[in-house]
């Protein structure tokens, strides 16, 4: 059984062409704190006769699937996919952490990894009067909200801000409401390939009914899944930062109110490293009147992962020591930034936690790019109210 699985993994991912140069481990953000050594994992999974020994390696759950290893690999291999492949085997064995089981069960039963009620998915939009995409004419903008922005009170603010921005630009759009289901990005990365397929099929059915001209997502994780992993989806998929960049370029938004603040920008891995969207968010920040921008030392391709991806929202990881999000917040405080701007729900949550755990609430705040933009749309910036 194991042999059957091992061969395809090593062959499927072309692991025999690995030259063991170590660039993957060298760039891995969790290698500093976790026993996970990605170069060794690649080597072992290509030479071992059977992979059952991996089933007890809990450090495989430390990987955030940020994909730095894949970007740095000179042979064009994807070490991160070895981790996902091994997690798939753990899932088939059924021996995984209870918190991971709960997330997968939640996605299966309720269409979101938090296991919140399906009929409460669109509650965040109750007072916003957003059209049901399933009743719109074809060729419109579909806003794919997904789970974090639907259920997490903090992340709902991103969705509300985006709605404000889209309305200011007079862009008609709709949402799937309670018919929307999890994009499956994190589910796939936790190794539940079958459940990912199920969720993909359900969303694809709705996408073809809506037949939109473009799908705009809250999260870079959803954008990545829809754009790169949904088989047969031909519709354009954009993260909101890309879509709003288009709106701003076409001068559809009037950014009036100055936001006098010194900010830096944290690149979400799924937006930057994995999809090359580095410039659009920075360009948008630059358009905001009164803002002062300062760049992290580790930015763009070298950006430090916040540890929120790859299922890490549902499992703490084994590594002792500082969370990388805490490193990030301390760096920003040292730079004299008053706010870290980011563009991903998971980055927002992990960084905001880190502000609290490092006791920096008085010094810095975490603001989503859409919240920042909504502040410059008349009225909001005066109060500085982002809640």
């Amino acid at each position: 059984m194991e042999e059957e699985q091992q061969q395809p993994l090593a062959e499927r991912l072309d692991l025999f062409s690995c030259i063991q140069c170590g660039k993957c481990t060298g760039g891995c953000p969790v290698s500093i704190k976790s026993p996970l050594n990605i170069r060794r994992v690649v080597r072992e999974s290509s030479v071992r006769d059977e992979l059952s020994g991996f089933m007890s390696r809990i450090e495989l759950w430390d990987c955030t699937t940020c994909s730095t290893c894949a970007i740095r690999c000179p042979r064009g291999l994807r070490p991160v996919d070895v981790v996902i492949g091994l997690r798939e085997m753990m899932i088939e064995e059924g021996r995984i952490d209870k918190t991971i089981i709960d997330a997968l069960d939640g996605a299966y039963k309720y269409g979101n990894p938090w296991g919140r009620a399906k009929n409460k998915r669109a509650e965040w939009a109750q007072d916003l009067d957003i059209p049901n995409a399933l009743e719109m004419d074809p060729g419109q903008v579909l806003y794919f909200v997904c789970c974090a922005a639907s259920y997490d009170p903090r992340v709902q603010e991103i969705a509300r801000s985006l709605v404000k921005v889209l309305r200011a630009a007079a862009v008609p759009f709709g949402i799937l409401g309670n018919k929307e289901t999890c994009c499956g990005s994190e589910i796939r990365r936790m190794g539940e390939a079958g459940l990912f397929e199920m969720l993909m099929e359900e969303n694809m059915k709705n996408f073809s009914k809506v037949d939109p001209r473009v799908i705009v997502t809250t999260s870079p994780h959803c954008m990545n899944a829809l754009k790169n992993e949904y088989e047969g989806l031909t519709t354009d998929v954009l993260h909101y930062s890309q879509f709003v960049w288009e709106l701003l370029s076409a001068e559809k938004l009037d950014l009036k109110t100055p936001v006098p603040m010194k900010v830096t920008y944290h690149d979400p891995c799924f937006l930057g490293k994995q999809n090359g969207v580095f410039d659009e968010p920075r360009w948008i920040i630059g358009k905001i009147p009164g803002i002062e921008f300062t760049e992290f030392g580790r930015c763009r391709e070298n950006s430090l992962c916040c540890e929120g991806g790859g299922g890490r929202m549902w499992t703490e990881g084994t590594g002792a020591g500082e969370r990388l999000s805490e490193v990030r917040v301390k760096d920003a405080v040292d730079m004299g930034a008053e706010a870290i701007i980011t563009a991903c729900p998971f980055c927002l949550l992990t960084l905001e936690d880190a502000v609290k755990t490092t006791g920096n609430e008085e010094k810095i705040r975490i603001i989503d790019l859409m919240e920042l933009l909504a502040m410059t749309l008349e009225g909001d910036a005066e109060t500085g109210d982002v809640s």
């Binding site: 899932i91 088939e92 064995e93 059924g94 021996r95 995984i96 209870k98 991971i100 089981i101 997968l104 299966y108 039963k109 309720y110 296991g115 919140r116 009620a117 399906k118 009929n119 409460k120 539940e192 390939a193 079958g194 459940l195 397929e197 199920m198």
Partner: protein, 263 residues
């Protein structure tokens, strides 16, 4: 070692808004999510762990309509060998006693060393089916089991008692145990795993197949009947704190201090 596990399909109520049905004798399950009864999931896992250690065969049994195949297939994907669904319109309205009669009629002809049920079901919460089934089959039993050790044909089991007490009892097989949650960590059942058993046949048995008469089952065969369901009336003494987050926190701290909750 041949083990039979009785499982039930129940609606998940933790996140749901509960609404009574028109007859006010049940809840409106329209749009609700169903799954295996939590206690039964631990019972299936306990059976699989015994099988992994001892070898043998696991049969899962569930009474109900075709939808119950979901929970049966899930148990097959977890590691059970056979599944039987007991189904008949005449079973409807059965209480724990009538249900035990239905299960007993099906189980008596299947070879077994051990029968496992959950302590209770998430929906009705009777906690009676398992022990009634043991009585009808003339088997020794232990309820609220939190640990199982096997020694020959004797089971040494831990039972959870009131006040944090734990009782250790020896039970000679064949026997029945009702399994408490927390006895183990039920394994995850993947979608691929469920797909692999999608074609596996699930045997069906009706009241006629089990030689059960109308007097033994359904409402007629039940010792108890649900007269009506209602939500507990809203009592007094609850105080909803209004205001902004800061004001609420301040008021709450004040109340806790006043009433001795915090120093």
């Amino acid at each position: 070692m041949d083990i039979i596990v009785c499982i039930k399909r129940v609606p998940e109520t933790a996140e749901a808004d509960i609404v009574l049905d028109a007859g006010k004798k049940g809840i409106d399950t329209d749009g609700m999510v169903f799954s295996i009864n939590e206690w039964d999931n631990y019972a299936v896992e306990a059976a699989i762990q015994l099988k992994e250690a001892q070898g043998g065969k696991i049969t899962v049994v569930s009474a109900g309509p075709e939808e119950n195949n979901e929970v049966l297939r899930r148990a097959l994907a977890m590691g059970a060998d056979d599944a039987i669904r007991l189904t008949d319109p005449a079973f409807e309205g059965s209480d724990a006693i009538a249900m035990a009669r239905i299960l007993a009629a099906a189980i008596k002809d299947i070879p077994h060393d051990l029968i496992l049920t959950g302590v209770q079901a998430d929906d009705d919460g009777f906690g009676g089916t398992g022990v009634a089934l043991a009585e009808m089959l003339g088997l020794p039993y232990a309820a609220l089991v939190t640990d199982i050790q096997l020694d020959g044909d004797t089971l040494t089991v831990h039972r959870e008692l009131e006040g944090g007490l734990e009782e250790v009892t020896a039970v000679k097989m064949p026997a029945l145990l009702t399994i408490q949650t927390g006895i183990n960590e039920p394994r995850y059942v993947s979608i691929m795993g469920i797909r692999k058993v999608a074609k596996k046949e699930i045997a069906e048995k009706s009241a006629g197949d089990l030689s059960l008469s109308g007097d033994d089952i359904g409402v007629k065969g039940s010792l108890s009947q649900i007269e009506g369901l209602f939500f507990p009336p809203v009592g007094e003494g609850a105080e909803i704190i209004e205001g902004t987050m800061d004001e609420k926190a301040e008021t709450l701290v004040k109340i806790l201090k006043e009433r001795g909750g915090i120093a």
